[in-house]
Amino acid sequence: MVLKLLQRKDPPDPFLCQPIVTDRFHLVNCNRKEAIKVTAPWRQDPEVLHNLMMAKTSYSAMQWIKTIKKPDGNSRFVHAIVSKEINGTIGAHRLTINKSGTVSLAIVIHARSWWGKDVFDEVRTGILDHFSQSDRVVRFYGRVLSRNVSSIYNYNKLGFRMIGYDRKAWLSPHTDEWHDTVHFEMLAEDWETKRQKQVVADAG
């Protein structure tokens, strides 16, 4: 029985588990313990919990441990965003891959001194560059609150396509008000084409 349970778990993907490095950041692939540690600043941050559309207004340490799904290096990943400059973690990027090859994305920069410094753009570009090279990845997907103007800007800036929105899709535990959400997608092949065009343009 134990052997069967162990066999059901997909092994880590050696390629996808490779470290990702951008100009200013190391994106460190976390195990569960590391993921809980790097996301700990989120659990009592109302703004972060709101934008992640979490069910509670704050989480105890034990509740957070139960909430953070275990990164497995195969279909669930948490990358710590570690600044080379300060050698510290300023946020984290979460993603899941489903059986159809759709990658769901979420990012939090909890160190507010880094807001407005194009962290989203650099980190997400590094993530998309890396994951789009995998045969398992077909499509990237993100869902944000309709009033999260910064995130909507960032998805548009990267070339994601808005594919729709939901009215009254999430009831905020902070305000007891309904919020609309917006959905974005980008095919992995479209991302690769876009990046190739950028390389050609930069070379020219």
Binding site: G116, V149, S150, I152, Y153, N156, K157, M162, Y165, V182
Partner: protein, 73 residues
């Protein structure tokens, strides 16, 4: 060009009005960063006297989109 559109975009992006053209867009204009985008949404909402809906916010990508929205007010 519509004066309101130029004025609002110029103020949000901290540009001189003469620097705003129909080609001004999120994709091509360096000054159109996330903070400028936020200022632009607020300015349009103030002008229109209502909150933008999700579709309007998500498609606010260039001069023409701003002009189209302000044309409704």
């Amino acid at each position: 060009m519509q004066a309101d559109t130029v004025t609002i975009i110029a103020a949000a992006l901290n540009l001189a009005p003469e620097a705003v053209t129909p080609a001004t867009s999120l994709a091509t204009t360096t000054e159109w960063d996330s903070l400028a985008h936020f200022r632009l949404v607020l300015a349009i909402e103030e002008q229109m006297g209502r909150q933008l809906d999700p579709l309007e916010i998500a498609t606010l990508l260039d001069f023409d989109a701003v002009a189209a929205l302000l044309g409704q007010s």
